[in-house]
């Protein structure tokens, strides 16, 4: 407040501070944080095990699930909302894919004899996996739509609605899977999309450079970033988060914007689920991705988004997801017990955001 007063009266001191306040500097400082965390583990983990190609690829694969879901979460948090249900949406997607791959029925042969189990995937080996992915993505998107319409229609806060649907979607996933892991009959390409490429034992995969799932993430991230920056919807998302009243006054369809954002969050949750399916080894476990929403939210917040809305960027969240993945991977390779890992990461998340706020306040004063 007083700083702006000073700027006004002091004239053009804004000129000199603009570099420090620019978005580029903001992103660059996050990138530096990523490098710092990475270097720390690179030095601390013995025998250079941390910066092997295999481990780097692992970090990418790990972070892909978080980063993909973080695309939607970034939009949600920019609108000053939150989506606690995304972990459950991922689980729902995983289960639906497995279930689709596992559709089967009993057939009694014409001539009589023993009943035979017929799998749909054996009938249409090409079509069924594609269908499985599409149906699962549709389910995830509908889950997001349900979040959006509920919180807009019933005028509830996002926290409550998604807290509820977090349980609901998880329950539905368990219902579909009969509370058991689903083991699909056939190994399909879906289970391979996150498999290593460069460090794979199978040299025929190395031409892809990165796992297909990571490519998928990169395409989705570019799409999401363009959407936020260059479309009317993107501008509306920032406006709704910065000040919903103003947005309404300016003719922005606030409710529709929110519904779209949560629907997109559902869709990106579905994409993340697709990757999780592969990372989890192609098994439809309804208990997968528990507490992922917290990692994803942490990634977005470390990436510079503000819970009070109007702030946040895809690139920032992407870096945030990488930082989270590096932290987890690094802690594991340090051979710290799980308990210590959790404590360390918790402390780092808090301090990272505290440091970020401190930096911003200093910048506002400069």
């Amino acid at each position: 407040m007083s700083a702006s007063t000073k700027n006004r009266t002091a004239g053009d001191s804004a000129e000199s501070s603009s570099i420090w306040q620019s978005k580029w500097f903001d992103t660059a400082s996050r990138f530096l944080a990523l490098i710092a965390v990475f270097s720390f583990f690179a030095i601390m983990v013995k025998e250079g095990k941390f910066y092997t190609a295999r481990n780097l690829e692992n970090i990418l694969r790990q972070s892909a699930v978080y980063a993909t879901a973080a695309l939607g979460m970034t939009m949600v948090i920019i609108t000053a909302g939150i989506d606690l249900s995304v972990g459950s949406v991922i689980a729902l997607t995983v289960v639906v894919i497995a279930w689709m791959l596992n559709i089967h029925w009993d057939v009694i042969p014409v001539g009589g004899g023993e009943t035979e189990v017929v799998f749909l995937i054996h009938q249409w080996p090409v079509l069924v996996p594609i269908l499985a992915v599409l149906v699962a993505l549709l389910m995830a998107t509908l889950a997001g739509l349900l979040n959006g319409t509920t919180l807009v229609g019933q005028r509830l806060v996002p926290f409550i609605v998604t807290l509820g649907t977090m349980g609901i979607f998880r329950g539905v996933a368990k219902l579909i899977a009969h509370e058991k892991d689903i083991y699909p009959q056939e190994d399909t390409w879906i289970a391979d999309i996150m498999d290593p490429t460069l460090t794979s034992v199978d040299p025929s995969r190395s031409w892809m450079l990165l796992p297909p799932g990571v490519w998928l993430l990169l395409i989705a991230a570019v799409g999401a970033a363009l959407l936020l920056r260059y479309t009317r919807l993107g501008r509306h998302i920032y406006a709704v988060g910065s000040n919903a009243e103003t947005a309404r006054l300016c003719g922005v369809p606030v409710g529709r914007t929110k519904i779209l954002v949560y629907t997109l969050a559902g869709f990106f949750g579905g994409l993340a689920g697709l990757m999780q399916f592969s990372i989890a080894g192609g098994i439809g476990a309804p208990t997968t991705a528990v507490a992922y929403e917290l990692h994803i939210i942490a990634a977005v917040v470390i990436g510079g988004a503000s819970f009070s809305g109007g702030e946040g960027s895809i690139l920032g969240s992407f870096i945030g997801a990488l930082i989270i993945a590096v932290l987890y991977m690094g802690c594991q390779l340090m051979l710290w017990p799980k308990s210590v890992q959790e404590i360390v990461i918790g402390v780092i998340i808090i301090q990272a955001v505290a440091l970020d706020q401190f930096r911003r306040r200093r910048m506002a004063l400069s």
Binding site: R8, Y230, A239, N243, T246, C250, G251
Partner: protein, 498 residues
């Protein structure tokens, strides 16, 4: 009693400010937004330490370490935004931080007594100290905040724009209270944009400009014109420019319009090329009238026609029908403070700001720049966040939004509230230009509907004025048939049907 002397010389925001407030006087502090009043307040309240200069309180050096220390030393601030805890009771608020205790326990009886004493001193002894603060009207809350200052034996009371959200009657009560506190020997610093108020309440005044003291003296000896001149740093010949205007076709019409609560009945006709003013007290239903017209509040009855289209519509439809609105509350409703100037200006009309229905930030900025130059808005670049601008410039951003959307009907709710005189004049000039139009440049005259509580402004800017009183809107009369007294009489409902 010795007087209170303060001397500052902070760089940048304050470049040598001298201010001497005596016990038992009301000292007005005036200046445009950005002149350094807020910073001066911050230094005084201990939120910032001065870089140079010294302050004395009752003859002893005064160096507040923080706001609490300043308060305990006897300097209390009443900000525009009250700093009270709405969920606590009145007495808890008054004695917040200085609760009488025995060990860890609060002594409720003593708390009640001390709160009651403080309330009596500010003239609201009949208020129950145990009522929850949020149930009180805003004027009452302000009194409670002053009572809090009294309860800690304050020596200097600083009031920042205390009447900006008060009705005339509440303001009168406040003035009575200020006079009473003055007679008790308090030094009172009164900050206001309403120079009429300054004339009414203050004994002496100090003018700040660009962080410096540029004038001052005994209020009774100064004219408003002179005060304005020293605030702006030049003579302001014509506060209210008014070119000859030719009213055209009707662009907005309401007939017995009613909202859910307010207004009860409002009929008006706004034509192209005229400025129609709506006077009235706060709470009379003026803002609600505008909100119903713009589709922000629901219509409960009556007819509403915009251009040739009847009926209600959403704000989004209204923008398409070439109607735009500036909200009275720019902080919570009018502007997205965290977003850039360009984002705020272009938000209602993002079409055509990039290829293939996309929106590019550079085109947004390019569309905004002409308005920044024309109005003018003082900011670094169109990418600057709106919160970095002064109040007056923020308001101009809200107005630029309507210009960018090129609307035919402008709904302006208190367009000059809380902004400096220089910005006010620029806004008056803009309104005049819009109402006149510019046939040469192909710009048609616009219709402006303007709400204001500042009567000289209404009389100066409008062609016709209607008055809202308790939800009913009187018929609009040409401005030359009104004067301030008549407007006030009509607004308070004392006018008998003649």
């Amino acid at each position: 009693m010795t007087g209170v002397h303060k001397r500052f010389g902070a760089t940048l925001a304050l470049r040598g400010v001298d201010l001497a407030v005596c016990a038992g006087e009301v000292h007005a502090l005036v200046g445009e937004n950005g002149a350094g009043k807020s910073t001066l307040m911050k230094v005084l309240s201990g939120a910032h330490a001065p870089d140079h200069g010294r302050m004395w309180l009752d003859g002893t050096p005064f160096r507040p370490r923080n706001p609490l220390h300043a308060r305990q030393s006897g300097v209390s601030m009443i900000y525009q935004e009250l700093s009270l805890a709405p969920h606590l009771s009145v007495m808890e608020n008054i004695l917040l931080g200085i609760e009488p205790t025995r060990g860890p326990l609060v002594r409720w009886a003593e708390m009640r007594d001390r709160a009651a004493t403080a309330l009596k001193e500010v003239g609201i002894g009949d208020l129950d100290p145990e009522v929850q603060l949020r149930h009180l009207p805003i004027a009452m809350q302000q009194m409670v905040e002053i009572a809090r200052a009294v309860a800690i034996d304050c020596r200097v009371l600083v009031l920042d724009e205390p009447t900006s959200s008060l009705t005339q009657r509440d303001a009168d009560n406040l003035f009575a209270l200020i006079r009473r506190l003055k007679s008790k020997g308090l030094g009172i610093v009164y900050i206001s944009h309403f120079l009429e108020e300054v004339q009414e309440i203050s004994d002496r005044f100090t003018v700040l400009r660009d962080g410096q003291t540029v004038g001052g003296g005994i209020t009774a000896e100064a004219t408003i014109q002179r005060i304005i001149s020293s605030m702006v740093g030049r003579d302001v010949e014509d506060l209210y420019p008014r070119s000859p205007r030719v009213p055209g076709e009707t662009v907005l019409e309401t007939h017995d319009l009613a909202g859910m609560d307010r207004p009860l009945s409002a009929s008006l006709k706004l034509r192209r090329g005229e400025v129609l003013g709506v006077a009235g007290l706060v709470g009379a239903g003026r803002t609600e009238l505008m909100r119903v017209i713009f589709g922000l509040d629901r219509l409960a009855g009556g007819a509403l026609t915009v251009g040739s289209v009847g009926g209600t519509a959403s704000p989004a439809r209204r923008w398409k029908q070439s109607v735009g609105m500036v909200s009275e509350d720019r902080k919570t409703e009018g502007l997205a403070l965290g977003l850039s100037v360009a984002d705020n200006v272009t938000l209602p009309q993002l079409r055509g700001l990039g290829p293939w229905r996309l929106v590019t930030p550079s085109r947004q900025a390019a569309a905004t720049q002409p308005w920044i130059d024309k109005i003018p808005i003082k900011c670094g670049t169109p990418y600057d966040p709106v919160h970095s601008l002064s109040g007056g410039n923020q308001q101009k951003v809200a107005l630029a939004r309507l210009l960018h959307a090129d609307v035919d009907v402008l709904l302006l709710d208190e367009p000059t509230r809380g902004i400096d005189v220089g910005s006010k004049v620029q806004i008056y000039r803009l309104i005049d230009e819009l109402a006149v139009g510019d046939p040469a440049a192909g710009r048609k005259p616009k219709g402006v509907l303007m709400i204001s509580s500042y009567l000289p402004e209404l009389l100066g800017v409008c062609d016709r004025i209607a008055v809202m009183c308790r939800g009913h809107l009187t018929e609009a009369r040409p401005v030359d048939q009104w004067d301030e007294h008549q407007l006030m009489v009509a607004a308070t409902g004392q006018e008998q049907e003649a």
